[in-house]
């Protein structure tokens, strides 16, 4: 349940940005989470329900878009989409591959009202 810690960080950052923009209320929070990140959507939603009341984000909707893992083969250079467990290059079978997408964990945007 480290999602509680993560959500605390999200709400702090969201409130700071809302205040900077002189907003009185946050109506939407858009998160981008890679499938390779150790984050459960359900746990994030639960953490948000627990932590949002009393903050500027109370009542906001939380949307989480997922990013599929993608790697580049260091041997033959091919780029490929894969699942959480298989990193071998589909073209040359090399295991020397480099993940370049799928570990994301960021707050993309918020929607606020004044």
């Amino acid at each position: 349940m480290h999602e509680l810690s993560l959500m605390m960080g999200v709400i702090d950052a969201v409130e700071a940005s809302a205040r900077e923009n002189k907003a009185s209320k946050v109506t939407e929070i858009k998160l981008v989470i890679g499938e390779m990140a150790e984050v459960l959507d359900d746990a994030m939603n639960f953490a948000f329900e627990v932590l949002a009341p009393g903050t500027l984000a109370e009542g906001a909707s939380l949307s989480i878009s997922k990013i599929a893992p993608q790697s580049r083969c260091l041997a033959c250079g091919v780029e490929f989409v894969h699942d959480r467990y298989h990193f071998a290059c589909p073209t040359c079978d090399s295991l020397a591959t480099e993940l370049f997408a799928g570990k994301e964990m960021h707050i993309d945007a918020i929607v606020v009202e004044n």
Binding site: H2, S5, L6, V10, A13, S17, A37, M105, I107, I110
Partner: protein
């Protein structure tokens, strides 16, 4: 009105992690974050590591546990400084907790800090503590299929230790299967198969660790 943030969720942790890393670099201290599930043998491996390396390096341990100080007491019994962090229920250590622990240590008098993370194969994975390397332990009784169930922790670890290999005759643990899966998840990881109980291959692990410490010293000098 939409406001674009493009801000990492873990920003709150990364700031502290950067500070920790900078501080330990200035003081020439190598920091290892050791992760494993409860009972895999983190404290035992740390004690064996202290035994092997104490003549060459000045070592301290930061102990992360949900509750109690039983592990810190064991470490202190060897004469090694140990700082206990009780997370009070949290399943992982965060960089801010390490920052507080570092303040309690005399960094100038240290070469190596081992952080024993909270027993958990999921949550510690995402939290950078400012360490030089993350290492993890899987013990034979846990089964060779664990890398498939907890891929994240195997992917962030520079070193993977298979512990309790003296119990291999009693379990259906297929070592080659395990190694193959780890290699597939993390081709760069160094794998050690060892037993703290019998002492088998412990020196291969401590050799790796001392190579890491020396490398950092070279980069600093």
């Amino acid at each position: 009105m939409e406001i674009k943030l493009k801000k990492p969720v873990l920003d709150f942790n990364e700031g502290f992690a950067r500070e920790n890393k900078k501080l330990c670099k200035e003081q020439g201290v190598y920091v290892l974050d050791l992760m494993a599930s409860p009972g895999a043998g983190k404290t035992s491996l740390i004690l064996a590591t202290i035994e092997e390396l104490r003549s060459r390096y000045r070592i301290a341990v930061i102990e992360g546990d949900i509750a109690s100080d039983v592990d810190a007491v064991k470490i202190k019994a060897t004469g090694t400084p140990a700082i206990q962090i009780n997370t009070g229920g949290a399943c992982h250590l965060e960089a801010a907790m390490i920052a507080r622990a570092l303040k309690e240590l005399d960094l100038e008098q240290l070469d190596l800090i081992i952080i024993e993370n909270v027993g958990n194969l999921v949550c510690p994975t995402e939290f950078n503590l400012g360490e030089d390397a993350k290492a993890m332990i899987l013990s034979v009784p846990e089964g060779h299929d664990k890398p498939l169930k907890y891929p994240g922790v195997f992917q962030v670890s520079q070193a993977v230790v298979l512990s309790k290999v003296d119990t291999l005759p009693y379990f259906d643990f297929v070592v080659n299967e395990f190694k193959k899966t780890v290699e597939q998840l993390n081709p760069h990881a160094v794998i050690f198969s060892l037993s703290v109980k019998t002492g088998k291959n412990v020196s291969a692990w401590t050799q790796w660790l001392s190579d890491q410490i020396e490398e950092k010293k070279l980069c600093n000098s």
